[in-house]
């Protein structure tokens, strides 16, 4: 069975500071991994995805994530956070086809 753990429920960073959101997954084979962002009252939007190849993937809005098989992790990073990045962030893992399983999310607050 596939599962995702996001250890941090809530993170607060200052605008301009760097960000790292943690994600650990459990899946028996090479996973498909995703990060999504959700603003209040909105659906989820894809930030980036990993399937294979280069373990450092770039996404939209200046985000990147690194796949580390040895640690079963797929942490999301951004060098300099903007106030508009305040939202909820979800990590997800998918089998080769079919459903994605989501973590419980990390809420990001950005201080001015």
């Amino acid at each position: 069975a596939q599962s995702v753990t996001q250890p941090d429920i809530h993170i607060t960073v200052s605008e301009g500071a760097s960000l790292e959101l943690r994600c650990n997954y459990s899946y028996g084979a090479t996973p498909y991994l995703f990060w999504y962002v959700q603003s209040p009252g909105q659906g989820l939007q894809l930030l980036l995805k990993y399937f294979s190849g280069d373990t450092l993937v770039q996404g939209i809005k200046g985000f990147e994530a690194e796949f580390k098989r040895s640690q079963s992790s797929f942490n999301l990073r951004k060098p300099s956070v903007h106030w508009s990045d305040a939202a909820e962030y979800f990590c997800a893992v998918a089998a080769t086809a079919g459903k994605s399983t989501f973590g419980d999310g990390t809420t990001l607050t950005v201080k001015p």
Binding site: V4, Q6, Y32, F34, Y36, G41, Q42, G43, L44, Q45, L46, K49, F51, F90, A94, A97, G98, K99, S100, T101, F102, G103, D104, G105
Partner: protein, 115 residues
């Protein structure tokens, strides 16, 4: 259409009423998914269609929940005899779901409140 469209956006039902939630996926997307999102939680899988075939309904919480996609496009999630614990946001997503294109495209959700 340009994106996934869900209706109604908000639904208030009295306990025991039946509700129907509609999802119009992105044109050409083979796969369609329904998720339930409770307050402060991540989306929980309900069911999955590939074209008109319902391939996985393991997440449906009870036999009061029923989903269909008769022509392989629009889908309806029906909840019979609603209970307060059914209150949640119901998210629909579609996907090409093949090759490298397995990411989900979500609608804005239907928020159900059961009184």
């Amino acid at each position: 259409g340009a994106g996934v469209s869900q209706s109604p956006r908000y639904k208030v039902a009295k306990r025991g009423q039946d509700v129907a939630l509609r999802c119009d996926p992105i044109s050409g997307h083979v796969s369609l998914f329904w998720y339930q999102q409770a307050l402060g939680q991540g989306p929980e899988f309900l069911t999955y269609f590939q074209n008109e075939a319902q391939l996985d309904k393991s997440g449906l919480p009870s036999d009061r929940f029923f989903a269909e996609r008769p022509e392989g496009s629009v889908s309806t999630l029906k909840i019979q005899r609603t209970q307060q614990e059914d209150s949640a946001v119901y998210l629909c997503a579609s996907s090409q779901d093949r090759g490298r294109n397995r990411e989900l495209f979500f609608g804005e959700g239907s928020r159900l409140t059961v009184l």
